[in-house]
């Protein structure tokens, strides 16, 4: 009996128990109870599901001596600690003793309140007047990530108007393929602003076993400005606005993209790198640029897109999953030399009725004979396309093998002060709806209408050429975006938006 008592008195918390794993969570900035208040700004609701779990093994309670206590000390501000839903600590002013009678591990709940934060708490074993042992536990909140085209798509959204001369053909192209993974919002409710790509970006937040999203809402102040709050914010979807002041076109999110995972000079970017464009002195709002920089993991770079009237990176470059490529994807970039090479391979008399009515080019010969157009395009190739390709190689670590040059010609639309947009619907300006396997994808591509029979895509030499440039693992869908988007200086990507799911954890290299 004495022996047994002695054993019980000598029990100790094993050394290895003190190696507590870091905690990874998402900032609690969504609205799980959908009451219009961000969760981090109110008391916990019954619907709350975004608190990270800190597990304190039961052995701490079973093996400590009766006169010993376990205390949690909050070492940083900016997060909260709960136990069984009750707030225990809110700042560095707070600390509390752990009480736990059950035969199971104790779960504390951590509520992060901001992105990409690194915090600690201390777990202390104390006897009256003395701290016997102490360990710091690392707590990390998720950085906000911009999605890339190797991440599976969850759903696609666009704007819809089914009145006379509406955009139903555009909308139906998504609905037919995606079914309930597609949502269209009424254009009439949003001042006929079709450019849903530009208003919002679905940022991804990854916690341990849990993902949420923050909609990055642009400071762009057009018809779609209220969309995020009215339609998107709710359970597991929050919203944030970064930056202020006078908006310009660089603040639209066709101008905010991310590469798939890349390795550059030995440095791996498991979530790719963010890229956006500047147009001469016009740049993305400083507040958002700083915020994206602070997320660190996607190390943003800025490209010079000063040749583009709209000024967005999606107008001239995209990434497509391709399992045969060295890194599982290839960059598709518009290329003028290839554009003229393509045109030279066609009959000069090849008829282009849509180009005749819109641009005055009735056939291929008309385009080839336009010397001013050719001079303009040669300049763009030399001063923007080639320099940007050089930057893709340097900053994204891409080789020529990983780059697909897509034939294209640019023109100077009315109202653009000499800047350009694509003459043919910009096929790289597509929506990439990636499948779960991260290999297959439905590609919603602007129909180039480079043919006389507008209803027969099989006779379109541009489509036939472009299909040859695509990997076999993707499925192209040719979308009529001519009237509503193309001649309005945008394309399929500009008129749609995709929410994606991450498949890897940012804390695991």
């Amino acid at each position: 009996m004495i022996f047994l008592l002695s054993l019980a008195c000598s029990k100790e918390i094993p050394e290895e128990a003190w190696n507590l794993s870091p905690v990874y969570g998402v900032p609690n900035l969504d609205d799980d109870n959908q009451n219009g208040i961000f969760d981090g700004e109110e008391e916990l609701s019954a619907d709350e599901n975004d608190l990270a779990k800190l597990r304190i093994p039961q052995v701490f309670f079973s093996n400590k001596k009766d006169d010993q206590k376990l205390r949690i000390v909050q070492n940083d501000d900016g997060f909260r600690i709960y136990q069984n839903g009750a707030l225990k600590s809110n700042s560095t002013e707070d600390n509390f003793y752990l009480e736990h009678e059950e035969e199971s591990d104790l779960l504390l709940e951590i509520e992060f309140l901001d992105y990409n934060q690194s915090k600690t708490i201390s777990l202390q074993l104390e006897e009256p007047g003395e701290v016997l042992k102490k360990v710091d536990i690392e707590l990390y909140s998720a950085p906000l990530l911009v999605g890339h085209h190797l991440q599976p798509a969850e759903f696609l959204v666009s704007m819809e108007y089914r009145g006379n001369d509406g955009n139903q053909e555009f909308v139906d192209a998504f609905a037919d393929v995606l079914g309930d993974r597609f949502t269209a919002y009424a254009l009439g409710d949003y001042e006929f602003d079709v450019w849903i790509q530009d208003e919002i970006e679905f940022g991804i937040l990854i916690g341990d076993g849990h993902q949420t999203s923050t909609v990055i809402d642009s400071i762009r102040d057009r018809g779609l400005a209220p969309l995020a709050e009215q339609e998107l914010v709710g359970s597991d979807v929050g919203r944030g606005v970064w930056g202020s002041g006078q908006e310009n076109s660089q603040d639209s999110f066709g101008n905010l993209e991310a590469t798939p995972p890349i390795t550059v000079d030995g440095t791996t970017y498991p979530f790719g790198r963010i890229y956006y464009g500047k147009y001469n002195s016009f740049q993305m709002t400083r507040g958002l640029k700083s915020f994206l920089d602070e997320q660190e993991i996607q190390a943003p770079i800025e490209l010079d897109v000063g040749f583009l009237c709209v000024g967005h990176v999606d107008e001239f470059v995209t990434f497509i999953p391709d399992p045969s490529a060295p890194q599982g994807h290839r960059l598709y970039v518009t290329d003028i030399d290839k554009g003229y090479e393509f045109l030279n391979g066609l009959e000069r008399s090849h008829s282009l009725p849509l180009y005749g009515s819109e641009y005055g080019y009735d056939n291929v010969g008309d385009i080839l004979d336009d010397n001013e157009l050719r001079e303009l395009n040669e300049e763009i190739q030399a001063t923007y396309i080639e320099p940007n390709i050089a930057r893709f190689k340097a900053e994204f670590g891409l080789t020529e093998e990983e780059i697909v040059r897509v034939p294209m010609i640019f023109e100077q639309p009315w109202g653009c002060g000499g800047s350009t947009a694509t003459l043919l619907p910009g096929v790289v300006n597509m929506a990439v709806f990636t499948h779960e396997d991260q290999v297959g994808a439905d590609l919603f591509i602007p129909d180039p209408f480079f043919r006389s029979n507008l209803n027969d895509t099989t006779t379109d030499p541009y489509i036939n050429m472009f299909k040859e440039l695509l990997p076999e693992t993707v499925t192209p869908h040719w979308v009529n975006d001519w009237e509503w988007y193309h001649v309005q200086l945008g394309e399929v990507h500009c008129g749609s938006n995709i929410k994606r799911q991450a498949v890897n954890n940012w804390w695991e290299k």
Binding site: S252, V310, T383, P387, A390, G415, G418
Partner: protein, 242 residues
């Protein structure tokens, strides 16, 4: 003097047989429903932000008088009038004299559009003296493609105080193979305040006189410029030369 009276006075050959108001009256009588639709039609915002009327069927020249009347009557705001001007131009493939006659009274953005698309040489002189860089830049772009405009205009605009005007003048200089522009393009290529202007100027110089452009790249080490595109273009220029 009413605007309608002005239209009648200033009517161009396009509408010579009938006054503008008479043509509009006829359209209204012949197709009242379509007339109502087109009279109320509103442009939509392009992705770049400016407005544009959507629909290739709108450019039927029959309806141009209605658009012209909407443009001229001044009830709509400048952005809508700009879209109407574009629609008139898309319908008629020219800028009507009625529009040109109102040129000086228009805001800068409309003066720029009219100047860029009109064949009226009188507007060139006015454009050169225009206080708005938007208009002078439009003139520079036009000078790059119109043999009717003296290359002296390009040289003049290369010395403009506004960088956007100089950029468009630089493009115009190589399009017109303007040798007189070279002494101005050289300093613009090597100045460091505006990399985009330097890039445009160096490209123009390379098109007019490649050897001189290469010499400037070497002398000023432009391949090491902090402006990415300028540096890469300059480096590529050296490679081509080798």
């Amino acid at each position: 003097m009413t605007l309608t009276f002005l239209f009648t006075l200033l009517s161009v050959p396009l509408f010579a047989d009938e006054s503008l108001s008479a043509q509009i009256e006829k359209l209204q009588l012949q197709s009242p429903v379509e007339y109502e639709r087109r009279a109320e039609l509103q442009p939509r915002a392009t992705r770049a932000g400016h407005l544009r009327f959507v629909g290739s069927e709108l450019t039927d020249p029959t309806w141009a008088p209605l658009y012209l009347e909407r443009y001229l009557n001044g009830d709509e705001n400048t952005e809508v009038r700009r879209a109407l001007l574009h629609l008139v131009y898309r319908s008629l493939e020219q800028i009507p004299t009625d529009v040109e006659n109102q040129y000086t009274e228009e805001p800068a953005i409309l003066r720029a559009d009219i100047l860029a698309n009109s064949d009226n040489s009188l507007l060139t002189e006015q454009g050169l003296k225009d206080p708005s860089p938007l208009v002078r830049a439009a003139l520079a772009r036009k000078a790059g493609i119109s043999e009717e405009i003296s290359t002296a205009v390009i040289v003049h605009l290369l010395q403009d105080q506004d960088d956007t005007v100089k950029m468009d003048a630089a493009r115009a200089s190589y399009r017109r193979d303007c040798m007189d522009a070279i002494p101005l393009l050289i300093p613009l290529s090597v100045q460091q305040e505006n990399g985009t202007l330097a890039l445009r100027s160096l490209y123009a110089l390379s098109k007019i006189n490649t050897e001189q452009a290469v010499a400037i790249v070497k002398k000023h080490q432009l391949a090491q410029s902090s402006h990415h595109n300028l540096a890469i273009f300059a480096a590529n220029l050296l490679k081509v030369q080798q």
